[in-house]
Symmetry: C2
Subunit: 275 residues, 2 copies
């Protein structure tokens, strides 16, 4: 029997949408109110997978989530790009003029701030989860308050969409990771992307040298992010994603990088969702 999937947020959230699209539309989910509790449910064996947002076009990488994967030795076994479309929604029969507050996740408010600037009468209030606000408005029949959430949430909780796709960047992609306790055993020939972490001393050219190795081994870099290691000044951790055509090339690069960098770690090997 398959276990449910842990998602951050409730049904109707963007994480829920990813779970449905990556697995299947009827996938059972465990609603978690934080990324931490999603990890707990995985570690306790209540779920087999977590769906976890990793980066978006406005905020960049969600570093605390990389830390969760790293600290608990979890594996990224898949990725999914969702085009996140935000919609302003409220109880049926209301117009934008009758809305005095909009409640949503800080990131959603940030992504819609250009639209909201045109409605200075609406007060912005930060909330924990986009879909949860929609659910509350619906269940408690709250007037005068709007949610910013997905079309799914509007359908699920029976709210009217007052304005569609109100985020500033129209093609607003968020990258989600599918996470497991251990890396699964999928065919090597299907693997063409990896997420790696390593550390380097702050020595001139040390990163350039590593990137040269990666380039020589025919790896393509699709993401790089440095993070100073505060406990050890002048040491940096790097999170990189690479794509490759031949697993052998990647394997070769990996064995060289293991020698050249400190604390080299594979956070996951999976199939590139961007082919």
């Amino acid at each position: 029997m398959t276990k449910p999937i842990a998602i951050q947020g409730i049904k109707g959230s963007f994480h829920h949408e990813v779970a449905q699209q990556y697995f299947n539309p009827k996938t059972e989910v465990v609603e978690c109110m934080s990324f931490d509790s999603a990890v707990d449910s995985l570690l306790q064996g209540d779920t087999d997978y977590i769906v976890m947002a990793l980066e978006n076009s406005i905020a960049g990488s969600i570093i605390p989530n990389y830390a969760l994967i790293d600290n608990h030795d979890l594996s990224i076994v898949g990725e999914y790009y969702l085009d996140v479309q935000h919609n302003l929604m409220a109880l049926s029969g209301q117009s934008i003029a009758s809305i005095s507050e909009v409640h949503s996740h800080p990131m959603a408010l940030l992504q819609c701030k250009v639209f909201l600037k045109d409605y200075p009468h609406i007060k912005l209030v930060e909330a924990k989860d986009t879909a949860d606000v929609a659910k509350q408005i619906s269940e408690e029949k709250i007037k005068g308050i709007a949610a910013i959430a997905s079309k799914n949430a509007a359908n699920l909780y029976g709210l009217d969409v007052l304005a569609k796709s109100i985020q500033t960047i129209k093609h607003n992609e968020t990258r989600f990771a599918i996470i497991k306790r251990q890396n699964h055993q999928i065919e090597r020939k299907e693997l063409n992307k990896a997420s790696l972490k390593f550390e380097l001393d702050h020595k001139r050219g040390s990163l350039a040298t590593i990137l040269n190795v990666m380039s020589d081994c025919k790896l393509n870099l699709t993401k790089i992010q440095s993070l100073p290691k505060i406990e050890t000044p002048w040491k940096y951790a790097f999170f990189v994603d690479v794509t490759f055509e031949d697993y052998k090339d990647y394997e070769k690069a990996q064995s060289i990088m293991q020698l050249m960098a400190e604390n080299f770690k594979v956070l996951g090997e999976y199939k590139n969702a961007r082919l």
Copy 2:
């Protein structure tokens, strides 16, 4: 006459502390409730400088702030590292046992989550500003609610510190930038750090090539962050910080990078605060 400094948050906030330490303890500030409104005050000429958090050890870079600097063609003219110590505070006469809710900025709650896990009876509530909660508790004499904020905020608003330095990472540095409309004219020999932005095609080795140039020109990389350009697939923007000893080396690297990368832009040249 000097104009006041725009800070995000109110007096007693960490931005306020940076303004006092970077300029002087009596610096007048304009309290702004968002980074956007801080930028507005600068553009309207109400202030000459903004103090703006740029990155911390837990969340990494605050990308929306890089976007504000970039989009409004502002200049980073200085940097400051503040060791952010979070304290749990409440009205005098209360103990942790009598606290039922703690209100603070999501980032502060995140940074203190290990401490807070030991007090499951305390509900976490997200708020806009760390110091603002302290001010409200003080002014409205609210019992049962604690704030997480700086020692300065406790002093300023007369609250009792119930627990000191409750953040998980004891040495918890945040990097702040000092921002102006145009780059100031300071002596070149005093400049030894720069923040740059450039774009590259997703071609194997393109970043390695640029980093080689930087290394050949004796630049040290202290930060790198890629951001996919969603409007143009396969294009990446990179935000990098470099340090150098001789401005001429930096100038040479800059002229080569301008030819090799697209949309090369200097976000600021300033004095390294980490010497």
